[in-house]
Symmetry: C2
Subunit: 236 residues, 2 copies
Amino acid sequence: MSDPATPDEQQRVALAVSTVIFALRPHPTTRRLAVHLPLVRRIRAPHQGRWALPGGPLGASEGLGAAASRTLGETTRLRPRYLEQLYAFGGPDRAPSAAERTVSIVYWAMVRPEEADAGVAGVNVQWFLADELPELAFDHNLIVEYALWRLRNKLEYSRIAAAFLGETFTLAELRGVHEAVLQRPLDPANFRRQMEASGRLVPTDEFRTGGRHRPARLFRHDESIHLADNGPLTRA
Amino acid sequence: MSDPATPDEQQRVALAVSTVIFALRPHPTTRRLAVHLPLVRRIRAPHQGRWALPGGPLGASEGLGAAASRTLGETTRLRPRYLEQLYAFGGPDRAPSAAERTVSIVYWAMVRPEEADAGVAGVNVQWFLADELPELAFDHNLIVEYALWRLRNKLEYSRIAAAFLGETFTLAELRGVHEAVLQRPLDPANFRRQMEASGRLVPTDEFRTGGRHRPARLFRHDESIHLADNGPLTRA
């Protein structure tokens, strides 16, 4: 133990930054809300013609999150209010056709429907149903599967559902988000009880009116619970 | 949008893998359990003589987690049963003295006291109190601060405390873990109620006997709640 290795002895790798953007949009046949994500068609080898997560190179003087945000904007025109780091994918066999070993730092974000509609237009950029993807480039199917799994888990203990909604929302709208993400109907009375017990919702004095239904109270999330809280990293 | 960038256009960077290992050990003066981590003294520039997280280079055909496990074992002899990816640190200014831009993929794990005692011996490898660190190499103070913040948050919604304990434990032992991590005393009756309400604990038919106290029931965690659950990545 005379010469412990420390982190400045490294292997040089190619670094890519990619982003999984989730939005709830109507399913093309059922018209029910379903999780969608934007993909970009590759126009060069390897995997030319396949769809891939939006992403791109890390600028020489750019942070990882800044690179994710910039490349996402360039490819899809989407500008989510926050991006969160999801996971680093760097297995030796993840891109065997590439000339050199590639590590991808993957970010993710959720966007509201109106934000989703503002971006993603063009023959090489399209929204896809997250659960009905074609075979994507590299290991991007696995990355999306992992992101969906994290989203479904995180729904249980965080206010992540709020990222799909406006500042205020009805309980029915919030339940709609949960149903779309979990892909199953939820009992309205049980859902109301769970949300009330969670302590995460704050009732407002406003109501959603109009339509066939009676006015529904609007709620907001407890703002002391952050949507994307990186603790000490926020200051860095 | 005729040429969307996709993730194979990348910047080449130096890649390091580091690990934050947390263990509960008695505070040297108060003798109360406190969060400790092992650090390795750097024996070359930059930051020669400073303490740093154990880590090292990524092998050419090695996965990120495998590299973390191997370098940790080589520097500290610790062999945690699982390592979990914590975060990728890659800001452009994080190692200005280094010859080239370095991205560190950081893993973390918790080990039990008997595991902690089995490793970490030598003048260049020592246990440190996580909340009383000297100035470390690179941005490793920030990395440890972030890991501590994640640990304290995760205590609220996961069974991460179990990683510091054996298969079975008394409520007092579990409370001791929470108190050591949160650095404040917890009311025993309140703690018991919270744990019972969480549904995460399963009572056993066994009791801890001996000492000055009356026999205390042993609990185990609900095994359907995984300690380190990576969902789809576990299969990959």
